[in-house]
């Protein structure tokens, strides 16, 4: 009975996905803007709701405030642990080196930053075996997140793992669209599961380009679009039915995970996002689908 009601509401929701006026009122009506309108209009999206530009940051902040403490547990449950492998793959593509200046955006809990640090250490150890290489000090990793609750979780974890003693990590609250770092100051820029929540993706990409050095690399790990025919249907059912239910059960917050699932659908697909990265100035823009497109890693090079 509940399942039938949920299916009915889903059908109703899909029927209402019509193009709408760019300057819609602030009352939340479940409509979807066209792709072109999405890229250029001043209205923006929050899940399937059309909201004013100014409201999105606040609403996204609310989402992540409410999930901060159970973020990793929910990630494990939603992706059956695969998110760890995806992040490992991201770091593998990044190819960290000793002496690196790295910026991880929207990585408040520190998952990506800790991996980068571990990789830099192992690279340094491997180099030491050569007996001729000097391991250069000066590695520094900056974690930037707009949400202070997420940063607090990350700081706590860093303390638990003993990273605080090494002074290699800096935790900075900031907006991906207006970074507080100097031009050409970073070797690497990663953003994992965060670009989707940015109000203006183009601005975030421009900022990434600005803060990177010549030769610096941009990498983005994001939930994306599944193209494999049969898998697509299975994935849809899983996304819209199970994920919000798990969110309600474990984190006590169905609404935030409903937002998560809906925002995945609204995000540009792999090709379009690659175009956006290229338009920001990056070269050698490539992407790699994982699990049939559930997740995609995009990379670009600044020259």
């Amino acid at each position: 009975m509940q399942a039938a009601r949920r299916l009915a509401s889903l059908k109703l929701q899909r029927r209402l996905l019509l193009p709408s006026q760019a300057e819609s009122p602030s009352i939340s009506i479940p409509t979807a803007a066209a792709a072109a309108a999405f890229l250029h209009s001043h209205a923006t999206s929050f899940g399937y709701k059309q909201v004013r530009e100014e409201d999105k940051s606040k609403l996204v902040g609310n989402v992540f405030s409410s999930v901060a403490s159970s973020y990793d547990l929910m990630n494990d449950l939603m992706s059956v642990g695969l998110h760890r492998l995806w992040k490992d793959r991201l770091i593998s593509k990044l190819n960290p080196f000793s002496g690196m200046k790295h910026l991880d955006v929207a990585g408040g809990t520190g998952d990506v930053a800790f991996r980068v640090l571990e990789r830099v250490k192992s690279v340094g150890h491997r180099a030491m075996q050569g007996t001729l290489t000097e391991t250069e000090e000066g590695t520094h990793i900056y974690v930037c997140d707009i949400n202070p609750n997420m940063l607090n979780v990350g700081k706590k974890r860093a303390a638990e793992r003993g990273y605080s003693e090494e002074h290699c990590l800096s935790w900075i609250q900031g907006d991906a669209e207006a970074l507080s770092f100097e031009d050409g100051s970073m070797d690497g820029y990663t953003i994992a599961f965060g670009i989707r929540n940015v109000t203006h993706i183009e601005k975030a990409l421009s900022e990434a380009y600005r803060v990177l050095k010549q030769g610096g690399r941009f990498l983005c790990l994001e939930l994306s679009h599944v193209d494999v025919p049969i898998f697509k249907e299975i994935y849809d059912v899983y996304s819209f039915s199970m994920v919000p239910a798990i969110g309600e059960l474990v984190a006590g917050d169905r609404q935030s995970y409903q937002y998560l699932v809906e925002s995945i659908r609204r995000f540009p697909n792999q090709e379009k996002f690659a175009q956006m990265i290229q338009e920001a100035g990056f070269q050698r823009v490539e992407y790699e689908n994982l699990v049939g497109g559930v997740v995609a890693i995009h990379s670009g090079l600044k020259l």
């Binding site: 070797d187 030769g215 050698r284 490539e286 020259l303």
Partner: protein, 315 residues
Amino acid sequence: MASSLAARRLLSRAAAVRRFPVPFASAPAPAMAPRSFSADAGPPPPLPPPPPQPVVEPPTSEGAGASSSSTTAGAGGAHRSSPGAAAGARRQGGAGYEEEQEKVLRASLLHVPRMGWSESAMVAGARDVGVSPAIVGAFPRKEAALVEFFMDDCLQQLMDRIDAGEGEQLKNLILSERLSKLVRMRLEMQAPYISKWPQALSIQSQPANVSTSLKQRAILVDEIWHAAGDSGSDIDWYVKRTVLGGIYSTSEVYMLTDNSPEFRDTWTFVNRRIKDALDLQKTFQEAAYLAEAVGAGMSGTVQGVLNRVFQNRSG
């Protein structure tokens, strides 16, 4: 006959100009191959080959006027236009990816004697030229890119030296002496890196890299035969490529443990092997026997794998 030789030479030169091979897909099993979405993603298409010049041999005065140095690859004689044009076309786009990659890899070579063919050498090279070492992460197959760059660069230098006038001196020698001199010229380029060359050989023999390294060696051997002035039929060509490829590879490995001054023993080794090969009355069967014997002598080593693949390719 002459036209087929000219075509072969142009193909060899075109391959040399395309310095960086197309990257291989290295994604894990469930993931699709990475897709390229940049205008600079692949090497630029090679220019149409220039019309063959009626004068086959450059005049003596022109050869004397031209000069080349080891630090400027591709700086051949003034009479050669296509490599310059290709380089010019590439530079017009501003700081392109290929240009930056070449700069970084060239600077990395200076660190190879100390750090080996490693990411550390490339990181140090990137720092030298003022580029973020993060660019190394964008190189396909990383260490292999460095070794392959070196191989391509040496081929280019060899071609430049031949065109710049050393080719003239070869005309006074008999065929076996020409081949010996050319093989020696090429192997001498590896002398500064001889202590790290076993590592380079092992990198080249990895599954992802072996096809590129075989192509590079085949092109090198073709170029040596061409510079020696030998012209043969298609059937002869493949036998000669196999024989000289085997001799080159065995000499390369011999050189690794040669402690004589200026590698004198290696040059003696090269001279004898080439003389032996040419003294076999040039029959196909005896040449094939020699190739097999060379391959058998190398069994169990890294180079033996390459030799066997060489034989399979020409068979």
